[in-house]
Symmetry: D3
Subunit: 336 residues, 6 copies
């Protein structure tokens, strides 16, 4: 085994996954995914896992596992080890590993996050919400924006466990995209009520702040599995609508609460996709379709024209089948 031969322990240091080369000593806090006890042919147990940070993932192995070994859980670990490389692929031979709770600073390096800073995106979103015209909509937006816990989560939550916008800040980025999309599309349909569309898009996924856990890797909370962001968003609006009157003395016009709740519970479009009702107003239909446009276009572009070309590319002109799109994709742009 090659690690036996490695003579130069040097000073091990924290390295980002994407910077790792072969035969280096590394030490630092990383995410650990899917830790499992493997067994060699000689029936010796060993640890198999993925070691990651916000820049990528590599396979990890720890060979010297005995009965006292404390198996790490999915989450974060402090570890020391040596990188190996064969045929251009890196893996990490772990020497020792210990479960830790990372500091906030460390976390920023460990979990993938949006390219644009959340605050910058949030400022742009505030600008778009500022274009709401109806006083009741303005008041309702204020009530939501005044909920600091919610807004803090909104800036940080991913938009999905995987598939699209699955990174810290992803929910904000997806919501902002949709508001910009509506801003561009609404003028083409003068009879659409732009305020309802904009507010509906702002609210449609806010339940995800409770549905997803994103402190270590992304997953669903029990609450998310059993209730879901669709119903939860409607309950949240039920509470906020009461605050609008209490705090701003503004009464939501009759029908406005029910129409916005309807947009939230119908935005998945069909019962089979998780909608509790099918969209039954022009605004609900448009919200549901714009959500689809942004999600699918974003997935299709990131799968065919990724930022870091070459990643996971198995060659050929087609991707693997992408489940969210129910098809594989043709990658070349014929005019480029």
């Amino acid at each position: 085994m090659t690690q036996a031969a490695s003579p130069k322990p040097a000073a091990p240091a924290r390295k980002f996954i994407e910077e790792m080369k072969g035969s280096e000593w590394v030490k630092g806090v990383y995410a650990i995914l899917n830790p499992q006890l493997g067994r060699t042919r000689a029936e010796k147990p060993y640890l198999r896992c993925l070691i990651g940070d916000r820049t990528g993932e590599v396979p990890g192995r720890l060979w010297s596992v005995d009965e006292n070994f404390e198996m790490p859980r999915e989450g974060f670990v402090l570890l020391e080890g040596e990188t190996q490389t064969y045929q251009g692929e890196i893996q990490l031979i772990i020497k020792w590993v210990k479960q830790v709770e990372p500091s906030n600073d460390e976390l920023r390096d460990l979990v993938p996050c949006s390219k644009r800073p959340p605050e910058e995106m949030f400022a742009e979103l505030l600008g778009l919400l500022d274009t709401l015209e109806h006083p009741a909509m303005k008041a309702l937006a204020k009530v939501y924006l005044a909920d600091e816990i919610l807004i803090s989560a909104f800036k940080r939550a991913p938009a999905a466990k995987s598939v699209h916008h699955a990174y810290l800040g992803g929910l904000l980025e997806h919501t902002l995209n949709l508001l910009k999309l509506a801003n561009a599309v609404c003028p083409l349909y003068p009879k659409i009520n732009r305020d309802i569309v904009m507010m509906g898009l702002f609210l449609h996924d806010l339940g995800k702040t409770r549905e997803l856990s994103y402190d270590k890797g992304f997953g669903y909370t029990d609450h998310g599995e059993l209730i879901g962001h669709v119903v939860d968003g409607a309950i949240m609006l039920h509470d906020k609508a009461q605050l609008v009157m209490r705090e701003h003395g503004v009464r939501l016009p009759p029908g406005a609460l029910v129409v916005l709740q309807h947009i939230i519970i119908s935005h998945h479009g069909q019962p089979d996709f998780g909608a509790a009702k099918v969209p039954m107003t022009p605004e609900a239909i448009l919200v549901s379709m714009l959500d689809n446009v942004d999600a699918k276009t974003t997935i299709a572009l990131s799968e065919t024209r990724p930022d870091r070309p070459g990643d996971f590319d198995a060659g050929g002109n087609f991707t693997e089948k992408i489940w969210a799109l129910e098809t594989k994709l043709y990658k070349p742009d014929p005019l480029k």
Copy 2:
């Protein structure tokens, strides 16, 4: 026209539909359904409608319609007319008709209602709720029962717009049936949590008090169409759970609120049947299946072995296709 020949106007009186014979004068308040302007071959307009009360319906016709005629809306009317009979079928030739709002006493005669008195059924239901064992469940039941507006609507609401338990008191009757069913079934499954099942059944359809309008005929409210009793029941529980702590100083055990909300939003079993989540606990699965057992058994029995035999019976051994069961039914009981 035959009505021209009828010589004996006698004193017209209120008669229940099921008591009507041919050639009688009637006068009174009735429900009017599906009023439409027909047109004779000679292009003369006339009023076609159904005239009904809690005992049944007959076709109605008013021939002398001119431009001043005020078309009645679906609802209730005071009318005078004469019954006719051909081949055993009754219809009502209306002389004049006027829209009215019935008094509460009149209403009782006009809208179908459950055979058992609501108060009697409600007492039986209280007895079953009294068997709840966990203090938090007891406290939650108390909070619901203390909501007078809700309970008053619960005693009065139908369980559906049509199909099963579509009469005043039907929601209470259906809920009571289910509690009795669970009471009989739970002992066979010792690991099931009976309190959760009983409470889940009590709550599962309470949103229907807001979903259905039942003052004149039965229909869906706008709120019912756009939000629905499934999501609305979950919102109602969100509010009630806060009262449990505030008013009884009892804390719902962690998970109890979410599990009960889950039962409410999953009790239709599948997304295509209106469930916002599929049932994911043993209790949610049992609630959903018992609801089905009661609804389908009740429909099948009332279609094949009705209380008033002969009603609408087209002869033959099979009923028409019954949409809720997706099949026609074979009527004979081979052992009778």
Copy 3:
């Protein structure tokens, strides 16, 4: 029969359907739809039909039908008759009727057409095609625009037999809408190839110029039923691509022809909706979704907020079930 009593024949004149009142004599060329031989109770035959022009339709009846009567076919007729009104509904009692071929001037009054003049919309579309950047796309657009027969049909054809944009000029209006939509949306997705999207949208429905007949009423041609605009559009592009090289000396980049054909045959999104392939490039996916956005938003708005309010409005807050949307719609705008 009431028409016997009408004393004032006056000078009958061409009247638009929307202007008709009761008890007027009319004479002129109209569209006739669904002509059928009815039979009175006394077994006398009569003609039932709809009489229409671009402003609407009314029921028509011709009572004096004998064995020499020449039954009109669906299409256009010259007729004379008298209007009747009951309860605000107009119908036309036809005195005589004769099949005719309308002149082009007459046609303009008979068939519904887009509100904006076709030439004005076409000029706007030319402006958008002018923004294409790749020389091969520019050359391909030129080849299509040089096909006078095609372009003349393109300006005139409806976008559908019914449901959305079902009027002369509807295909052009729908295509223009989509180009404007893409113009607004593409900048939000920098990696999308705008030229492919714009060209794909321009071409996606051109097969409809052969699929639909629209000279008298709108219908499908045999060719349209058996082949359809989806495959036909791909065949048309196959021919045009050969002209690009032959006439402009420009070679379509490898892959460009196949990717554009793919967009045409996949733009219905799913096999069940008529797609011969599912969309497999980001541009094909976006084209298919934008087509959906425009079609559904247009339908939803015209059903809930029609230009001529009151038309066909049965009252209540919900429309009838709209098949293209698989739901009924809630009509009120709660902020208005």
Copy 4:
């Protein structure tokens, strides 16, 4: 390899799987499942399999496989070997292995069976059949009970190859559960014919005695795959009904045979779930739904609240997706 180091061969003995600890010598008859020839990295062949008895299963390995080795088939084997343990998981290093046919006594230890003794359950079932009231139903029950081969198989057969009641005696246990369920539920629906429901439930799965093989592991017979218990149960009833007249001089009332056959062939509820007809009588509908209630409740409880807690528990609050329920399950009981 660690087994080389094990010094203490002691007297090997038969041990139940659930009692095995590390470093013990065992010898005895076990079930062998899924025997396969693996190959080490050094391309040496070895035997991989599961070794089981009624108390559980462990992985088995036999390393010294040469060309004379006789590969065992799925079934039963006599073997000798040594247990090993790592991280709490047991596996069996087999020294030698030989196919055997177990004696009946040995079988009892090898195949999982119901917790309650079959004779005890059968006695309870007889008691319930004794409550049948109609003489023809009583006679029919007698004919079935007099078929010793059938009843012997009925007491022994599992109710399914896997998923629910998949153990010896499972068919009897499932049938008994259903009779008890019907006994509790029927009184709530006075119009239901209890005799038909009880008899239908007794017969509904009897075809499984021919559909499943259960002498060694559970599987489908060829007959079961090609015909199935649904049709086979109907054929069996066809034969038995002839015996009722011949042996008891009792004539089944007209319609009773066909209605019971209908219950058998319809009890899966829908064609997609294996029903040859959909249930078309109230009793057939109730039988089909009660079957569902017992199957799904039993699965849900055994997956979330197993008798031997900890078995296969991967941690977390949710189970894996359970295919028979089309969902994963939430395990905690929030009131416990």
Copy 5:
């Protein structure tokens, strides 16, 4: 009413429907379908029905209905009346009507039947069964052919209640067609077992002799609705297989009975189309597909190229949607 004016009663006589012209007196036994009590605008009751024989159907009306009138049931009637014609359509104004049971001779004129005489088709079928090679298949065929009641029904039964081969002798004609089809197709697949295919086709629909009633009009028996020809054919084979041994001393090869039963219960191809199992042998698959080929080709040809051209032809190049084919059909043969 025009019938009052008809002066020439002449000698009324039995006429076939297809020979009827206007203004003739007819008297004779006819089939009566869908008898209903209509009501004129003046609320006078009258009888509406279809009057038919094997050559076609015409609408019938009887105007003078009073309270003593005995409403005929669907079946056969002796009647007298006068034909009327308008615009080429015939109808029958009935003077009086009386329910009768037709003699066998009369029946032959009343119910549609196959063009070829049943005996001629049956002889051809015997010739094809004679080509069976395996002695067990020969013996099985003999047992079926010796069942005189079955064979008499087989020669007479229709193949369906409607849609394809819905006439007396239709089951025989469809079965014969399939044997001829298999005779032509099997030689192309040398590995197929021709005996199994031929025997499977002979047996596949024999259960229809019990499923359909065809004495007066065609319908399903209760037995047919609740059990169906698919399961019933398997039960019949169960009985016949026992006779093969008892009467011919020939033992069906192991597997032959189950494979033929499998063909019978799987020949509808999919559960949704009524198959109790999907076809799982090459012969079962071929039987199921040939059944489909004959049924669909026969329907498509009779709808587009009927024997009596012009029947029900609404004009245009397309038929109405044909439900059995889930599409409308294009009628022209472009090479004719």
Copy 6:
């Protein structure tokens, strides 16, 4: 490792896979499939792949992989190695390997092909096309047969990437089968237009010559994935129809082109199976069903009664689930 022990290197030679025994040296050109870099327990990389020719496939391993090793791509290689055998299974221990482009002679040995020589099948097909009667059909056949590039591809292409007729010459064999099937079946349906059926079958899959690549292994071309043989066949006919007039002075009868194009685009029967239109003429329906009969019968027979018995046979009476048939198959022929 055992290969170290093999003493007799002899003269290595090309051997067909089906002839390989253990402990032989082989050298020659083979197909290589699914080449992957594995990693031993000791983390040493090695090459895993399948090595094949037209007679079968065996697993291949190359152990001595270092950083200079050039990984072969899927395609063809020259290699030298030694066979090993354990328990009757062969594998190839590769010593060295080099990517090559095989000569045409070599290719014939490497890729599976039809049993009958293509030229012999093609001659039979020409004979069947010669039976076309209509001059326009004869002319159209001539135009296709004169396209040498197309016909050369037609003789060589497989009919599918896998599943049925997946070998060189498979498209020709499948097409020939279908023409023979139609030749046998059409006489049973006198009203069918045999010329249209025969021509439709000849053309229906010709688009596969462009859809599939078959030079090295079988796959889809990009063109095939994005457009498909269904639409491509229709475009090809569009071009050929123009040649019929130009080169033969024969005009296709009106409707003939559209009906044949319709057959091509509808031959998959349903949108979900890839049809761009459902079949709407009797001939289109028959073509689609015969295609199905040949494909499914061929699959079912080759899976249950293979030419080389024992291949991949896992024992038992049932095959694995066959996806194209959506079921597993029962293998025994009960009369053999």
